[in-house]
């Protein structure tokens, strides 16, 4: 295993300490391992928190700050955080207007957030939850755990953060989050497996000429394995299910998000974005906003995901609203 770490069981704590040191103007890191916006709680503002396993950096800690999250709860690597964290985060950010939990749809996240919400409500804090489940690689069904929450989470956190910052109440903020969830679709692929620090070897083996399509962000095997293809072909394979699912159609205005999985450099993401942009152009879909970079990663996995969000004016406005976090910043 080749990683810049000291010991597998210290990675998360040391990375959080590094984050806290690097961004002490924006965030504070508190026990039991929560990342809290420096000036939280803000009186009268709806708190927005999220959380999940570590290993997806900058998500979620890198999105804490003005105009995005009020707190993030990082679990162990690829492991949902524990309810104590969400409970503490909820208390830390509650400014009296209630708190929204943005939960990625994983059994563990759902259950742990559930328990935390019960605990917080028992302490008199109003909590709502929205579950992000945007991964079209997973068949959706009433009888299964349903789709994973992936790239759409980043977009939801930004737009919902903008909405909460504008002074909207808990119901409005919750509805905005649901609106993003209803309009976003994603799919990812891997060129290599990630390696968990605690495991020390790749989670799955991919041949030198193979790739995995429909991968999640935890080294879970994907929908299918096949011979490696060109960037244009890969974009086609990811975009087709995304476009068909909503469906997106000619005349739509979208936010196109090309995300790197952690081990893929920016030069390749721009090659991918080039293919995405030209495919959308060909379909008469307007890319009104875009994001290209590694924002929701899977440790050192090489690969990418694509997310499309069908925008309306309000979502666009909240996307454009000022944000100042370690990983996303504009407008100030």
């Amino acid at each position: 295993m080749k990683k810049l770490i000291n010991a597998p069981d210290r990675v998360v704590d040391e990375a959080l300490a590094g984050m806290a040191a690097a961004h002490s103007d924006l965030i504070r890191v508190e026990p039991p391992n929560i990342v809290v916006r420096k000036d939280a709680p803000r009186r009268g503002k709806v708190g927005v928190i999220s959380g999940g396993g570590s290993g997806h950096e900058p998500m979620h800690g890198g999105f804490v700050g003005l105009g995005m999250l009020d707190a993030a709860c990082p679990g162990a690597v690829f492991t949902s955080p524990v309810p104590d964290q969400m409970q503490a985060a909820t208390k830390a950010v509650d400014g009296g207007a209630g708190v929204l939990h943005i939960v990625k749809n994983y059994t563990g996240d759902i259950m742990n957030f559930d328990l935390a919400a019960q605990l917080a409500e028992a302490e008199g804090i109003q909590v709502k939850s929205v579950v992000i489940a945007d991964d079209v690689a997973v068949k959706d069904s009433l009888y299964t755990a349903g789709r994973r929450g992936v790239g759409g989470t980043v977009l939801a956190e930004k737009i919902v953060g903008g909405c909460a910052e504008s002074g909207a109440n808990l119901d409005t903020v919750t509805a905005m989050c649901q609106r993003v969830q209803d309009n976003v679709r994603s799919m990812g692929m891997a060129l290599t497996s990630c390696t968990l620090p605690s495991v020390g070897k790749p989670t799955f083996d991919l041949g030198d000429d193979e790739m995995e399509i429909g991968i999640g962000i935890h080294g879970e095997p994907g929908r299918s394995r096949m011979k490696i293809a060109t960037a244009d072909q890969i974009v086609e394979m990811l975009m087709t299910p995304i476009l068909e699912d909503l469906p997106f159609k000619s005349g739509d205005r979208v936010l196109a998000f090309v995300n790197g999985m952690g081990g893929t450099p920016l030069i390749e993401l721009y090659v991918v974005y080039n293919a995405v942009a030209s495919m959308l152009k060909g379909k008469g879909i307007t890319v009104a906003r875009n994001l290209v970079g590694s924002y929701i990663t899977s440790l050192d996995m090489a690969g990418c995901s694509i997310s499309l969000l069908k925008l309306d004016d309000e979502m666009t406005r909240f996307w454009d609203a000022p944000v100042h976090t370690p990983a996303l910043r504009w407008g100030l």
Binding site: T79, V82, T107, T144, S198, V199, E220, P221, R223
Partner: protein, 216 residues
């Protein structure tokens, strides 16, 4: 043989079971993680081990006596340290088991079954899984059912526990051909078939640890 003449287990028996299981988990950390790598995210052994390593000092600090109180501590420690899917589920298991045995300094087969009933229904409320979904329930429910049958048939506790282990084994192995409908493995769809569920495996180890500790 831990059961006393009236078929009761003591506080120490329960504490010894938890301690033994913590050791079993440590020994099987890699195995459980490898199972999880195939259809999940390669952390089940790590998660369980983190939890039970946190449980051990809590157990040491516990004043012996109340079985239920001790099991509640185990449950809440797991909830607070494991995370993932297994944390709330195993945490709930021990928490509900503890609530069902609160205030008791000894526990017999009957209360054991009551505890299991309470634990399993809380786990199902939380995780919304049904038997056959390829989860830890697929080992836990058959084990509970076998224990009940043996108990109703008037078997000795040791024999009843062995029946539970056999049922857990069988349930665990029966997860292999299943297509997962809950948990991370469900993302794989049909590709989840052909692999044994990690959670069912750790449950099997839990039942075995009870049999080995109490009737070994």
């Amino acid at each position: 043989m831990s059961f006393d003449k009236s078929g009761q287990l003591s506080y120490d028996d329960f504490a010894a079971w938890i301690r033994r299981y913590a050791g079993v988990i440590a020994d099987n950390k890699q195995y459980l993680t490898d199972l999880d790598a195939a259809i999940g995210d390669a952390d089940h052994g790590i998660n369980m081990d983190r939890g039970f390593q946190a449980v051990l000092p809590k157990l040491d600090a516990q004043t012996p006596g109340d079985v239920g109180a001790m099991l509640k501590v185990v449950g809440s420690t797991l909830i607070s340290t494991v995370g993932g899917a297994s944390g709330p589920l195993y945490g709930t298991f021990f928490l509900q088991f503890g609530i069902a045995t609160a205030g008791q300094s000894s526990v017999g087969l009957e209360q054991l079954l009551k505890g299991l009933d309470a634990a399993i229904s809380a786990m199902q409320r939380l995780g919304k899984a049904e038997p056959g979904d390829k989860t830890l329930l697929d080992a836990l429910i058959p084990a509970r059912d076998a224990l009940r049958r043996a108990s109703e048939d008037g078997e000795q506790p040791a024999k009843a526990l062995s029946a539970a282990v056999d049922a857990a084994d069988e349930g665990m192995r029966a997860t292999i051909p299943l297509v997962a409908r809950k948990g991370r493995a469900s993302y794989l769809g049909d590709r989840s078939a052909g692999h044994q569920d990690p959670g069912a495996t750790s449950v099997d180890l839990l039942i075995r640890a009870a049999r080995d500790q109490w009737a070994g």
